[in-house]
């Protein structure tokens, strides 16, 4: 959910909306925001599954340190979605393990 109104920051300014594709589905996003923000706004929590035990992982540090939020973006695995800004038409996929098995 987006924070539309805020007592300190004011109303959300009109943003340049775009769409990205996540696991085959189009979701709304704001150009320049991190991919992770668009996913959170769309209620998507699971970013990847671990290699050995297939455990789900999501946002943990949100500033590019921990790599928990890594996904496959435009075919490139292990992209930290919390520090990678949205570009029109990006293709984002839930990553499984090292991402080598993700469809290209």
């Amino acid at each position: 959910m987006r924070v539309a109104h805020h007592p300190i920051l004011g109303d959300l300014p009109k943003l340049r909306e775009t769409k990205i594709q996540v696991d085959g589905k189009q979701i709304p996003a704001v150009a320049g925001e991190p991919i992770a923000a668009a996913l959170a706004a769309a209620g998507i929590r699971v970013h990847r599954y671990t290699a050995q035990r297939s455990e789900p992982r999501g946002i943990f540090c949100a500033i590019g340190q921990c790599t928990d939020c890594a996904m496959t973006v435009n075919g490139i695995p292990n992209v930290r979605t919390c520090i990678t800004p949205v570009v029109d038409g990006m293709v984002v996929e839930t990553q499984h393990g090292s991402g080598q098995g993700n469809p290209r």
Binding site: V3, P56, F60, T84
Partner: protein, 382 residues
Amino acid sequence: MRAVDLAVVGAGPAGLTTAIEGAKRGCVTVVVDRNPKPGGQLIKQIHKFFGSREHQAGTRGVNIAQRLFREAQALGVTLMLGWDAYDIKPGRLEVVRTSFVELTSDRPAVPFRGATKTESINAEKIVLATGAEENAIHFDGWTLPGVMGAGAAQTMINVWRVLPGNRVLMVGSGNVGLIVTYQLLQAGAGVAAIVEAANKIGGYGVHAAKVRRAGVPILTTHTVVEARGDSRVTGAVIAQLDTSWNPVPGSEKTFDVDTICVATGLRPNTRLASLAGCQLSSSPVLGGWVPIHNNRLETTVSGIYVAGDVSGIEEASTALEEGRLAGISAASSLGKKGACDEEEIRTIDERLCNLRGGPFCQPIQDAKQELVKIGESACPKE
């Protein structure tokens, strides 16, 4: 290949003031930061700072970041945003692009096409202003999506204006836990409770009073014992702790939350300092392992300096001062001196001393002095 006098890693309060002081003295300066926006963690701090006027009391962190960014830009500092420093040797920094877009300044991002791009930066002096990492605590389910650092939630709501969840349990009642709780409420989330393992609230009374007035209970001698859920958090179990910090059987309570924020302290982000071979020293008061440095912030590796939280967890106000000191020191050792460097250094030292003088901060002052004492013999001499 890029050749500069001064390379700074981290565009937070310490990194930006380092760059500003370096550039003022004529250093060709570059700042590298993996994040798309400059300002480090200042950009998520929408509350007003405490302290005295010279430490920006009454100003919101996000506004300080903007001001420093503009000042650095006006001085000709090159800001490489969306670049990650992945290797370091004395005199040389290796960086890799983290984004798919060009991020250089206030201009809108331009898509970057092509494969991963790396660059080498030859730098006479390197200042590591790499900040801190959030500590985690381990409990059943702690890796589930929905368990995150309190700072992570703060970034999502205040910088990107997205709620990471709707109903939150906050773990830890230090200033971060208290402030982020209040800011989650401001952003429209619900906070079920704050749990605090110690028997008293960790942060300032004024912050605790605010969240209590807003109706959030602060449960001392309680901690989280389990995050419930299969693929995401759907609940949190807390328990009371006995005097040996063990959960009291039968004291468990379950909260209907979708997010658990962990605010259990910070530790210095010393990864690059370690890679560079800087000697570290352990100091619980400073947050863990910290690079040994002398009173001019040079580490045990000649030409590599530290400033801000990487050299001990403190506040943004001390990071701003340490950055200035590191910038002046690095420039001065390159023979690029300002008209009154000695006086400025004296003023900075005094301000740092004042900032560390309060009852909360005296142990930090002592720990820093201890570190510098080790540094005076372990660090290279001019």
